[in-house]
């Protein structure tokens, strides 16, 4: 079972929710934690895993064999990303624009293009073990200056064992990096705040999940600062609100120091264990719905 934690708006508490959920996981088996916010990964600050050595993640980019090239311009024609420019007796490659589709190399009539790996970031694996938790931790770190996070997100997600429970910490927003992170999850927790910005971006995230056909539950963070707008929206959309987290100075201060609240407070541990139960409930009822749909269709 893969559970993604996403938000639309940034800074609503995705990482707080995902790490505390992970550390409050009280089943026998190991939990996998995958930080897919490869632009700004933060979960390791709280989970404190011991990492193995990092692996470079690359995408294939073209390398021109000038000896074979006839400057026919076919590669430039094929490339929709403008990563190649063909001059009279020279081909310029802009590797930072290349998406690694392989079109230029495949269609080159002279077989003058080879593909070489170009590192865009690293993947780091580690483990975090405490008296009450046992976590396989994994994250990606995009190299500053690199534009494309989805290939790194996909590389990190390839390591997931889908037979076990995995939590994915997604990046903010609703565009391609978020889609890459949450795609193929069984359930998505949307963390929001009850403000106009929170609601606007929650709605975008809900629409995105509808498109991806992933069931959702909402957690309202800083639930006492703002209005009822998110509550009303969830009622109207029929999305379960799984938890309210009121603004709490202790929680904010622990977060600031990189500490997970469930390791410091039995009350909070209890609350996050309850969310697991709610997730399993919602997940089971969604499974039933799907099975019923299949029976009806069949």
């Amino acid at each position: 079972m893969i559970i993604a934690v996403a938000s639309g708006k940034g800074g609503t508490g995705k990482t707080t929710v995902s790490v505390n959920l992970a550390l409050a996981f009280n089943q026998k088996e190991k939990l996998q934690f995958i930080d897919c916010d490869v632009e700004e990964p933060n979960a390791h600050i709280f989970v404190k895993p011991v990492f193995d050595s990092p692996e470079t993640v690359s995408i294939p980019v073209p390398e021109i064999n000038e000896g074979k090239c006839t400057y026919c311009g076919r590669c430039k024609e094929i490339c929709v990303y403008n990563a190649l420019a063909v001059l009279k007796e020279n081909v310029l490659v802009f590797p930072e624009l290349c998406h690694g589709c392989g079109g230029c190399a495949y269609f080159c009539p002279q077989e003058a293009i080879a593909e070489v790996p170009r590192g865009i970031g690293v993947m780091e694996k580690g483990t975090a073990k405490g008296s009450a938790f046992d976590i396989d931790f994994l994250h990606g770190r995009l190299t500053p200056g690199e534009a494309m996070s989805p290939p790194l997100i996909n590389a990190v997600k390839n390591e997931i064992d889908s037979r076990k429970v995995a939590i994915i910490d997604a990046p903010p927003g609703t565009s391609c990096p978020v889609v890459a992170a949450v795609k193929e999850s069984d359930f998505c927790l949307l963390v929001t705040e009850p403000t106009p910005f929170g609601l606007n971006d929650l709605d975008l995230a809900v629409q995105m999940l509808k498109k991806l056909d992933i069931p959702a539950g909402v957690i309202i963070n800083r639930s006492d600062i703002g209005t009822n707008c998110v509550e009303d929206y969830c009622k109207q959309e029929g999305i379960p609100v799984l938890m309210h987290i009121p603004w709490d100075r202790e929680l904010a201060e622990l977060y600031a120091k990189g500490e997970a609240v469930v390791l410091h407070s039995a009350k909070w541990r209890d609350l996050f264990e309850k969310i697991w139960m709610r997730i399993f409930e919602v997940f089971d009822s969604e499974q039933l719905k799907t099975e019923k749909k299949e029976v009806d269709a069949g």
Binding site: E40, N42, I45, I78, G102, S149, T174, S175, P177
Partner: protein, 285 residues
């Protein structure tokens, strides 16, 4: 003409609340919201919509079932896993590279331009705002950001405006780079949390990579004074000016609920501090 881009690395540090307030304090400026997949600036700038345009930047491949000879070449060549065993293309996985379209021996694949968002020009009490909405789950946010920034530059030129204020997205990836490249300066809004510090360091690396000078301001500075000092020290060591510190106050959210920049909603400490930051920005750019 100066262009200041407001970024943060970490989301939710207060970029948009600050940008809205700077807009209210500015004179002869134009504005853009470059957080195109979760745009919020318009919610506190009382925009009156003037123009709506479609954003077309990508093409999506589609297999016409009755033409397909099921040879499997497209599936073999697709690097993005977008083509199913039943020879259907998942538009969410399709990267729009067109390799399948060019390669298909039966010419069974179409490759049409798709609308992947909209962009708008609005009037606000503070000046024109160019904003956008990327379609849900769409790609090419960087291209939409570039389009929006080019349009706002044209408006600035035509109307003789001296200042462009850009609200950037979180992160360090493609839309951030598109928002930042070529700007006169970046204002990094951070917060004194370990996550905030970590993310600020990475986004400052991006500024350095693209040779954009950076300024830093610290929001909710009273949340953890030790981390606030850590940020100040880090910035000092790298000669990045810290242009202000703003304490935590619920008034920022109250102003947002009213749909107003906080400097127009309250005369309290937060507003005073934001005004000081704006004065420092003008001095430093």
């Amino acid at each position: 003409m100066k262009e200041i881009t407001v970024i943060s690395g970490k989301g939710g540090t207060g970029k948009t609340s600050f940008t809205g307030s700077f807009a209210a304090l500015s004179a002869n400026a134009v504005f853009t919201d470059c957080d195109v997949d979760a745009a919020n600036l318009s919610l506190i700038m009382r925009p009156v919509l003037q123009e709506t345009h479609e954003f077309k930047a990508s093409r999506t491949a589609f297999i016409q079932e009755d033409e397909c000879i099921r040879c499997g070449l497209c599936r073999k060549l697709c690097r993005f896993g977008a083509i199913s065993d039943a020879f259907r293309i998942d538009p969410l996985s399709c990267e729009g590279c067109g390799v399948c379209y060019h390669a298909c021996p039966a010419e069974a694949i179409t490759f049409e331009e798709t609308v992947s968002g909209q962009w708008f020009i609005s009037n606000t009490p503070y000046g024109p705002l160019v904003h956008a909405r990327l379609g849900i789950a769409e790609e090419n946010s960087g291209k939409l950001v570039t389009l929006v920034r080019n349009r706002v530059k044209e408006i600035a030129r035509d109307e003789n405006r001296s200042f462009i204020l850009t609200d950037g997205p979180p992160g360090i990836g493609c839309p951030v780079i598109a928002s930042l490249a070529g700007a006169s300066a970046a204002l990094v809004v951070t917060e004194p949390t370990l996550s905030g510090v970590h993310d600020m360091e990475r986004v400052l690396d991006v500024c350095r990579y693209f040779k954009v000078s950076a300024l830093v301001c610290i929001n909710r500075c009273d949340l953890d004074e030790e981390n606030t000092r850590k940020i100040e020290k880090y910035c000092q060591n790298r000669s990045v000016p810290v242009v202000g510190k703003v304490p935590f106050d619920k008034v920022v959210t109250e102003a947002m609920v009213e749909g107003l920049p906080v400097v127009e909603y309250s005369d309290g400490t937060v507003s005073r501090k934001i005004k000081e930051i704006w004065a420092e920005i003008l001095k430093n750019t």
